[in-house]
């Protein structure tokens, strides 16, 4: 276990470093000169040169990179090129929307996906199970944006149950109101990701139905469903956990689209706006925050999976 965690930590560090190099490289090395971009097409050559010096862009790239990396380690992501405000603070502010949204979506996805996946596996030869599977196959292909619009049309406009868009301007000051604004976006991401989780759960559970210990339980007189839940479910849940890292990455990224659709003030929406404004330092910080989050979540899920699965425990060689 220790060896696994150490190796995996090394991989995480390599991943984070690689992410920082790639993000920095993409936003600096490619032809779009930051100073030229800020100065705009009408900027004179001397203005551009002045800006370049002001931003430290005249230094060699490795020096700029190490400078940025150094700031990063101190929690300093630089200042916005447009407004001049520190990027790290803004990203943290926006995470107060994005993280709860991702968490809530995950809950929706698990609550929808896992039980229905088990049920559809138990009934995989009957029409009802086939129907659930077909619907999940369809929903997994629905673009998040359309799913969100459908939910708005039905639950917000049609039934008037929930707000269509937006987030309270005072944030989480009134938790109830803030929560209500997150319900539709979380349902949007959660239903689509839940459909994917359902398919994973279903195929794992169908496999479990043929495993000896589940068959043995049924042979002792338990119903197949009971035997699956008692003896097969731990294994099924483990294989769900093993794909969860990828799914959570999907949630965080789905947030980019869904925050835009529901006008939520999260990191994703800020990223979309900053890309439009070409605020490259901010984009750099936001991309690193999101990618870092995905990598860290992947790390945590892998370690948890390893710790939970007795089959993966180290055997003495």
């Amino acid at each position: 276990m220790t060896r696994f965690v150490l190796g995996r930590t090394l991989l995480l560090v390599v991943g984070l470093l690689l992410a920082s190099v790639l993000i920095f490289g993409t936003l600096r090395l490619l032809p779009g000169d930051v100073a030229q971009v800020i100065a705009g097409t009408e900027g004179t050559a001397s203005q551009v040169a002045g800006l370049r010096e002001q931003l430290g862009l005249d230094r060699p790239l490795p020096v700029q990179y190490l400078d940025w990396l150094g700031g990063l380690l101190r929690g300093d992501l630089g200042a916005s090129l447009v407004t001049g405000t520190p990027v790290a603070g803004e990203v943290l502010d926006k995470l107060a929307v994005t993280l709860p949204l991702a968490g809530l979506s995950l809950v929706v996805g698990l609550v929808v996906g896992v039980p229905l996946g088990v049920v559809s596996a138990l009934r995989h030869r009957r029409p009802s199970g086939v129907a659930v599977s077909a619907v999940s196959q369809f929903v997994a292909a629905v673009p998040a944006v359309w799913m969100g619009m459908l939910l708005i049309a039905v639950l917000a406009v049609g039934l008037g149950l929930l707000p269509t868009q937006g987030f309270p301007i005072d944030g989480w000051a009134e938790p109830g109101r803030a929560f209500r604004s997150l319900v539709l976006p979380a349902l949007t991401i959660g239903l689509v990701e839940g459909a994917v989780l359902l398919r994973f759960t279903r195929s794992a559970a169908i496999g479990a139905l043929r495993e000896d210990h589940v068959v043995a339980g049924a042979a002792r007189g338990q119903t197949l469903a009971r035997s699956l839940v008692r003896h097969g479910l731990p294994g099924v849940l483990l294989s769900v956990v093993s794909v969860l890292g990828l799914q959570i990455a999907g949630l965080l990224v789905g947030a980019v689209l869904v925050e835009q659709l529901f006008a939520l003030p999260g990191v994703g929406r800020m990223l979309v706006a900053d890309v439009g404004r070409r605020d490259l330092t901010k984009v750099q910080g936001e991309l690193l925050a999101l990618t870092g989050l995905v990598l860290v979540v992947g790390f945590v899920v892998d370690v948890v999976h390893r710790a939970l699965d007795p089959r993966l425990r180290e055997r003495t060689p």
């Binding site: 991989l11 490619l30 997994a140 629905v142 673009p143 049609g158 990455a249 999907g250 990618t291 995905v294």
Partner: protein, 293 residues
């Protein structure tokens, strides 16, 4: 040809192949003909219901939705084919590096791929869009890189498996170079696995194109795109949900078709499933979900 027959014999495969054929035909035909001009603005006939003249009705500025949806198939097909081509090239190149080269190169590539596979495609696209501005090219490159790494991961183990078979050993022993071995023996034998991945890469690229065009960083305004139509129609979703359904359905069915075709191709390529009596001990294959767009 057996594979094709096997694919079409399965309902999923038949639906997938059929729908995609329809999309491909629509894409070609729409280059020269659509029922109406998809970009003609006619405010006097805004929000008309479905009629023989406007099959799917019209939108807020009186554009014919059916024509626009049809014209957008061209964009979809172009992006799907181009992204899959980039992804396949990159994936096989990385996969071959990770499977067939000296040990230290192999292991470096494996670690690199393991790390890169966690990078979400849409973030790659946003980084590129920040530098170059949004375009379909950005979508293609981002999906190509994002899915290419995923293909590298899958193809590496398959290439490695094929590369260690006796017939490859025999070919090497008879003096064939690495490139020739790859071309003549390894790739053809790894092709069934790669074809499945190509189908799934196309599904991903369609979702990515729709998402990025929705955000305004994909197709430009002069190019018809399902994602862009979704974003144009968003303000009216409460009053005209049925109009929004057309682009939404078009995206969903096409993505679904690629997913189902991918499943059918995998099953068809699996000899254990090819017999009449479905194999009893079918190992649960990982279902095709979607990777983060």
């Amino acid at each position: 040809m057996t594979v094709l027959r096997e694919v079409l014999r399965r309902p999923q495969g038949a639906f997938g192949a059929g729908w995609l054929l329809l999309v491909a035909v629509a894409a070609v035909v729409s280059r020269w003909w659509t029922p109406q001009d998809p970009f003609r603005v006619d405010p006097y006939s805004a929000w008309q219901g479905p009629s023989p003249e406007h099959l799917f009705g019209t939108d807020a500025i009186g554009r014919d939705v059916a024509s626009y949806v049809m014209a957008a198939t061209g964009t979809t097909v172009l992006v799907a084919v181009a992204s899959a081509a980039v992804a396949l090239l990159l994936g096989v190149a990385l996969g071959a590096l990770g499977a067939l080269t000296a040990r230290w190169v192999r292991e470096t590539v494996v670690v690199l791929v393991d790390v890169l596979v966690a990078f979400p495609t849409i973030l790659v696209a946003m980084a590129l869009a920040a530098v170059f501005g949004g375009s379909l090219g950005v979508v293609v490159v981002a999906v190509g890189i994002g899915y290419g790494v995923a293909i590298a991961r899958v193809s590496r183990s398959e290439l490695r498996r094929v590369a260690t078979t006796d017939y490859v050993l025999a070919a090497r022993a008879s003096g064939l170079g690495t490139a020739a071995v790859l071309r003549r023996h390894v790739l053809p034998n790894a092709a069934p696995v790669l074809v499945v991945q190509v189908s799934l890469a196309m599904a991903t690229s369609i979702l990515a194109e729709a998402g990025l065009s929705y955000l305004g960083y994909g197709a430009p305004a002069s190019v018809a795109s399902w994602g862009r139509l979704l974003s144009d129609l968003q303000p009216f979703v409460g009053t005209h949900p049925w109009t929004v359904a057309w682009p939404g359905l078009a995206i969903t069915l096409t993505v679904l078709a690629f997913n189902l075709l991918g499943d059918a191709l995998r099953d068809a390529g699996d000899p254990r499933l090819r017999t009449r009596r479905r194999a009893t001990r079918r190992s649960p294959a990982a279902p095709t979900g979607r990777t983060a767009p």
